[in-house]
């Protein structure tokens, strides 16, 4: 075994020990702390019923056919052309945000919710009436602390509570 190799073995072990004794953890304690995303984060989508002009651009631009125009039951009258409003299917949504970007009246908005899970396929479809009620709330055991990720020269990422 050459001297050079021995030195490199020692260096590797020393680096390992250095990290074993230092406390440079990067972990976000997820269910107790949640990350507050920067503005413009593309999470689940909020729908404003009143400002929507039912143009259908969002459904047209949706790459995954997740956004669809549903017949709005309260507004449609019999015999007349049905009124259609957008609804979303999170089972297909790819969170590209094209629908939000194209909406001419800003009736669709991003929220920062992105950690919802479902038990069944059906509850992931949000027709307009359900879409209006807002985004689903993720389940937490107790109220989590909101943290903001701060880039750090020494530790890469650290987290600071948001007031």
């Amino acid at each position: 075994m050459s001297v050079d190799k021995t030195i490199r073995h020692v260096k590797a072990l020393a680096t390992g020990i250095k990290y074993l004794v230092s406390s440079k953890r990067m972990t976000l304690m997820y269910p107790d702390e949640i990350e507050e995303f920067p503005d413009g984060y593309r999470g689940m989508i909020k729908y404003n019923w009143d400002t929507c002009i039912k143009c259908g651009l969002c459904a047209m631009v949706c790459p995954a056919d997740a956004m669809k125009m549903y017949i709005s039951k309260e507004e449609s009258e019999e015999g007349k052309k049905p009124v259609r409003r957008p609804g979303i299917n999170y089972a297909r949504c790819v969170f590209c945000g094209f629908c939000v970007a194209i909406c001419p009246t800003n009736s669709l908005k991003f929220t920062k919710v992105h950690d919802v899970v479902y038990n069944t396929l059906e509850e992931q479809v949000y027709p307009p009436e359900k879409f209006r009620e807002g985004v689903p709330k993720p389940q937490y055991k107790k109220k989590p602390k909101k943290m903001r990720a701060i880039l750090d020269e020494e530790r890469g990422l650290r987290y600071e509570p948001v007031e």
Partner: protein, 339 residues
Amino acid sequence: MQDLLSFLISLLFRPCIFIPLIFPGLTVIFIMLLMIIWLERKIAAKVQLRYGPLYVFKPLGGVIQTVADLLKDLFQEPIIPKTVDKIAFLLTPIMLFGLAYLPTVVIPVSPTFYAFRSDLSLLLLLTLTTLAPIFTVLMGWASNNKFSLIGGLREGYLVISYEIPMFLSALSMAVLYGSLDLVDIAEAQKGIWGLFLNPVAGISMLVLIYMSTGKFPFEIPEAESEIVAGAYTEYSGIMYGLVMGASYVKLYVLSLVYAILFLGGWNPLPASMMDNPLLPGAMLFAKAFILIAIGVFLRAVYPRFRIDQAMNIGWKMALPFSILAIFISLGIVTITGGM
């Protein structure tokens, strides 16, 4: 009633029962297993900038994670594939665990507390530890799975490359102390530890212990990214728990042996404390535990060697070094006229 109870307790503290059942036997092995697997994950996690098991019992850092894993293993369906050789398949995990555990009966806890003392106890111990790999090879064959087969064969190849130098390194200490009795060897290290007298043997033995128990960088027979889990691929449930535990038990036993051969066993304790086996035992255990902890820490530092490289290390480095170690021992014996 009272008499019976005290009789039972006194029975329990008899060496021939205490040693196989309590320390270094089953009870301590069990606690050690639960601790060491958790510790392995925690140490790796710490080096890797994260926490490791935690939420299972948060106040103590998830220390009972292994208990949960054990429960899961216990209640998991033990699958016996149709194509396996049933008897060999079922027998091998038990044999593996049993043979890994068996050498503990030979290990003395203090100069006066041992289950078994013989002039040849070191030889007996080394022989018993070499038996386990045979069952790993058998396991690879019985599983009737290509990855298992390769894993078994790798173990087979490795055994012959680490066993001989390990024997030689261990025996060099026997040469040094002029005895094959573990109690004598430990007692002889009252002054200087074996490691400092013959560092060549000490270092090569340490490397070979990690090699024989499949610790990094020698985790070759069960190299997960190459051959899934090697010989253990087909095992599920509690049978997998057994085979996984066996390699840790082997590490534990070899670490105890190493502590006795090179780290002075229960020394340095004053002679007055030797009457009660508790303190010497704790001393021995602490030394072994440090060795185990180093072994599991290596996971965080090293990738794994290829089998030919490991065999090269066995044959081209460890073997010459261990032969050199014997000569060093002989030299010391010649100069000092026996320890």
